[in-house]
């Protein structure tokens, strides 16, 4: 951590910068408050309810990937019962696709015991994925990358957050909608297998920030700036597979990454920004002023040191190879701590890419070798799934494998 205590002193920021960043130190805190007041007194002209908003379930791709992330997510992984075969899996996918198609459109599931809870889907999406054993039981061909990730030196993986035969990602703006969908789907699935893990996450609530605003993680960082944009050619090339029965689908890598807020606490703002290579205020690279400014990895400071440090997360994560891009769709988690700890928080690091081996692994390999962020982050869970393409009305998710 020595390298981080460079002497560029951040406490001599001009008053002007304090005003714009609202940094919460000393006088800055006061400024921050009055700014907040000023904002709060601006009359809200548009009040819109999200309850009735719906995202189509059917289509070429499953929803919940290219669709704008909603505030709440639950990932559930199941172990399938021994003796399951292709016909079992057809029944499973017919049932769960049917429930998902109905619930996402605000219609109660068949045999829904709490139909009133289905009426406000609030952008509910349900996304299904298969682990290696699912494909094996189905007697199908698995993508070559469908296997546990290689182990990385920085991993401290726990079984309770890793693996699984069948994954369901349920997401909506309203936690009640998520809870109901999880309940309905869990009842559909219970005769086929058992819950292996459930991981719940969140982002800013709907209407808290403008749609499209990059989220913040619990380190306070703007997280998701450099990411393929859904609908672009770059996104399609990075995310959607083009061969096999999973063409039109993709892969999900879900890493549960603990973020140690207790050891992050003593790190100065400067140190935090250096670890990332970006500013906390707005996510701009240390060589720029706005979030989406291109980082200048060559830039040197007065001492001849790289402005974006050799160990900065963005230097290590970035790549010049346009085929090595992943689509990150992370969520925060924050659950009850145990022992002496005062926090148990981190990231549900979900990333989607057409080919895990070619796209995800090299990035993770570089980060494991060197990344200042590793000081405070630890991967404690890991799972890889193939995400089948979407289905048409009358079909079910996975029908190109099981049909």
């Amino acid at each position: 951590m020595k390298a981080m205590e460079k002497s560029t002193d951040s406490s001599f920021v001009s008053r002007r910068r304090l005003l714009t960043t609202g940094a919460a130190v000393g006088a800055g805190a006061v400024v921050g408050v009055s700014l907040d007041r000023a904002l709060a007194s601006t009359p809200e002209t548009v009040v819109s309810l999200h309850g009735a908003e719906r995202i189509a379930f059917h289509g070429k791709h499953q929803a919940g990937i290219a669709t704008e992330p909603a505030a709440q997510v639950s990932f559930l992984a199941f172990d399938l019962a021994d003796g399951s075969d292709k016909s079992t899996l057809v029944r499973l996918m017919r049932l769960t696709s049917n429930s998902a198609a109905r619930l996402t459109q605000g219609d109660p599931a068949l045999a829904d015991t709490e139909p009133e809870l289905a009426r406000k889907p609030s952008r509910l999406t349900v996304t299904f994925g298969f682990g290696p054993r699912f494909i094996k039981l189905a007697g199908g061909v698995a993508p070559s990358w469908l296997k546990p990730l290689p182990s990385f030196s920085t991993d401290e993986l726990q079984d309770q957050w890793s693996g699984g035969d069948f994954v369901v990602q349920v997401s909506a703006e309203d936690p009640v909608a998520v809870s109901h969908a999880v309940r309905v789907l869990s009842k559909d699935i219970r005769s086929f297998g058992t819950l292996r893990w459930r991981q719940d996450g969140f982002r800013h609530a709907a209407s808290t920030v403008k749609t499209g605003t990059t989220m913040r993680n619990l380190f306070g960082q703007v997280d998701g700036t450099v990411n393929p944009i859904p609908g672009t050619k770059e996104f399609s090339a990075a995310v959607w597979a083009d061969k096999g029965w999973w063409a039109g689908g993709t892969s999900l890598v879900l890493r549960r990454i603990a973020m140690d807020l207790d050891t992050w606490d003593p790190v100065s703002r400067l140190g935090r920004e250096e670890a990332m290579g970006r500013r906390l205020s707005n996510g701009a690279p240390l060589t720029g002023t706005r979030e989406h400014d291109e980082p200048d990895l060559e830039a040197k400071d007065a001492l001849g040191l790289e402005v974006i440090a050799p160990y900065a997360h963005i230097r290590r994560a970035q790549t010049d190879d346009p085929t090595q891009v992943i689509f990150r769709r992370p969520y925060n988690y924050d659950i009850a701590p145990s022992g002496d700890s005062t926090s148990n928080s981190g990231l549900l690091f979900a990333s989607f890419q057409a080919d895990v081996d070619h796209q995800f692994v090299p990035i993770q390999q570089r980060l494991a070798e060197l990344d200042m962020l590793n000081e405070w982050t630890t991967a404690i869970g890991s799972a890889v799934f193939v995400i089948p393409p979407g289905c048409e009305p009358g079909g079910f998710i996975g029908d190109s494998l099981l049909g």
């Binding site: 189509a56 059917h58 017919r94 045999a111 559909d188 219970r190 005769s191 009305p393």
Partner: protein, 173 residues
């Protein structure tokens, strides 16, 4: 239960709205096998069957009469059971309820909906030919008093609701 026209209109409008908003067709409402016989005048939706390993179970759906004339469902047949009956649930003064066969069938006036639901009217499958597992599909045929018939498909779901035990209850028929 027969639901009156205004209710149905509201429901239909809501469906139309969901179609527009979602930009996605509303498949779950119309079962694929709806149109196998010629004179299709009943719209069947939300059809499902309670999973059971053997013995009896029940099927539920929403039936809408889209025609101009009253139609009576005199009989239902199914590939899952050789004895399929139309049942109603009657509640006694002591609040106990009992199912019994509707010998005259269900009559659906034009523009009316008939809800077959747990705790109410339902289709009873006696003596299952084989276990009905969650996610299986069961085909039913509705037979009408004018001699016409219509198929629909129902998906099998696990169900614990409404304290229904068709197994023991059914034996009293």
């Amino acid at each position: 239960m027969n639901v009156s026209r205004p209710f149905r209109l509201v429901a239909t409008l809501a469906l139309a709205a969901s179609f527009v908003l979602a930009g996605c067709s509303d498949d779950q409402k119309s079962d694929k096998a709806d149109h196998t016989h010629d004179q299709v005048e009943i719209h069947v939706s939300d059809a499902w069957v309670k999973a059971a390993d053997s013995g009896m179970t029940a099927a539920f759906a929403t039936l809408e009469n889209d025609s101009e004339k009253a139609l009576t469902i005199t009989k239902v047949t199914s590939d899952a059971s050789s004895d399929t009956q139309l049942h109603e649930t009657v509640t006694a003064a002591d609040h106990s309820s009992m199912m019994q066969e509707v010998k005259d069938g269900f009559t659906l006036e034009p523009d009316r909906m008939l809800m077959l639901e747990p705790g109410g009217n339902h289709i009873m499958l006696m003596d299952l030919k084989k276990p009905l597992l969650p996610g299986d599909e069961v085909t039913f045929t509705l037979h009408f008093d004018d001699g016409s018939a219509q198929d629909f498909t129902a998906v099998v779901k696990e169900f614990e609701g409404a304290n229904e035990s068709y197994e023991s209850h059914g034996k009293k028929h």
